[in-house]
């Protein structure tokens, strides 16, 4: 059906979600209550903002992910042609993986993979 499918499916998803929310708006009999809007924190009033510091580990993993994900993008086109190119392609990707893996080992040695 071609690339129209993207548009059609997006419209379908929006209609589905918006339709559900809209129908529930009509069915709901809400009540007004001062405490209702408070963020959930196991029954006690919430202290401070949640938008404060969080573990730097997430950032390191995101960086590592970025490197390996870009690697994956390179591997996709390689995977399609590898059968035609033959054994040379295997040697080349092995060298590529080796270089990548050396960097990964460096990150591991530096303690980037350790969760604090």
């Amino acid at each position: 059906m071609g690339s129209v499918a993207l548009l059609v499916l997006t419209i379908a998803a929006i209609l589905f979600s918006a339709g559900g929310i809209l129908v529930s708006k009509f069915l709901v009999r809400g009540s007004v209550n001062a405490q209702k809007g408070q963020p959930y924190e196991c029954g006690i009033p919430s202290e401070g903002s949640p938008w404060n510091q969080f573990n730097v580990g997430y950032y390191l993993f995101a960086l590592l992910f970025l490197i390996f994900d870009v690697e994956l993008i390179f591997v996709y086109p390689w995977a399609v042609v590898v059968k035609k190119v033959g054994i040379m392609a295997l040697v080349e990707i092995a060298i590529f993986f080796f270089i990548l893996f050396t960097g990964f080992l460096y990150a591991h040695k530096k303690g980037a993979l350790k969760w604090m």
Binding site: M1, S3, V4, A5, L6, V8, L9, T10, A12, A13, I14, L15, F16, S17, A18, G20, I21, V23, S24, L27, V28, G30, S31, K36, G37, Q38, P39, Y40, E41, C42, S46, P50, W51, F54, G57, Y58, F61, A62, L64, F65, F68, D69, L72, V75, Y76, A79, V80, V82, K83, K84, I87, A89, L90, I93, F101, F104, H108, L113, K114, W115
Partner: protein, 358 residues
Amino acid sequence: MFSLEYITDSIQHWLYSTFNPTMALLLECLIIILLVTAFFGVLGLVLVLMERKVAARMQIRLGPNRVGPKGMLQTTADTIKLMMKEGLTPDGADKFLFNLAPFIVMIAAMLVLAPIAFAKGFQIWDINIGVLYVSAVSSVSVIGILMAGWASNNKYSLLGAMRSGAQIVSYELSAGLSIISIVVLSGSLQISEIIASQQTGWWLFRGHIPVIIAFVIFIIAVTAETNRAPFDLAEAESELTAGFHTEYSGMKFALFFLAEYINIFIVCAIGATLFLGGWMPLHIGHWKGFNHIMDYIPSSVWFLGKTFFLIFLIMWFRWTFPRLRVDQLLSLEWKYLLPISMFNLLLVTLIAIMGWHF
């Protein structure tokens, strides 16, 4: 022989012979919208019921058995209940992002349906980079999850979203590498060609041990990617209440819940397509008679059977393995699965180049 292909072909033929091309295309779009929305609703209901029934059987109890025959209408009743609940937005939340997040998750789940072949010739869009498209679009849902956690103005939500994000992006790597090993074997990214390449047997049985390793890694990775137990740290009830959707209620919560189950279906469908031959019946080499008998089972039954088998497997995991700690989770991926799958890809490539597979 019964086949969905004939039905879709005759509908398309009828549309284009009755109306002018623009009108026919519009009507086709309308039919697809109706079909996928109905499919989403039904799939959500069926999968949630299945989850509860499987969980009950694993724990030697009956599960839902009051609403409808054998409790079949339980999830429908639950959906109606959820629709009648008020959707709250917490004070101090980022209202725009808070309301946008469920839409993004739903759109991502819906878009991935496009290249999946449900039966022979029953596919919305046979894009020539199908597998790449699936792995690209399915990772968009991370943005929705991070958005939901960030906008909620709740500490549990933010922590849950962060964990979820780290987990999904990490396991995407080894899932991607296992997918690539099948791309190497079949030499194409297009879903229909990958299925066609399994005419003489499914890749799982034809590629020796490396493909089986790739399959196991794929199943582990997608279990983590869909935030299922034993990798459900993002919504570990004892630590983080409900993770990124703590603050969501009513219909918006239902959308997240639905998208989660749709994602399970999608990853299992991809797994079935790549490793178990999609709609391709079980063919063994040159056994003509056997292959012919297998061809009598409709292709949609094959596809759904394989997919639901994988879904059952993932549901089974939940009641078998205890939950991992967050550092164990990340070290499992980065120290074991990623190096193993990189090395495994090289082995699969060697098999593919030398033609050692069956």
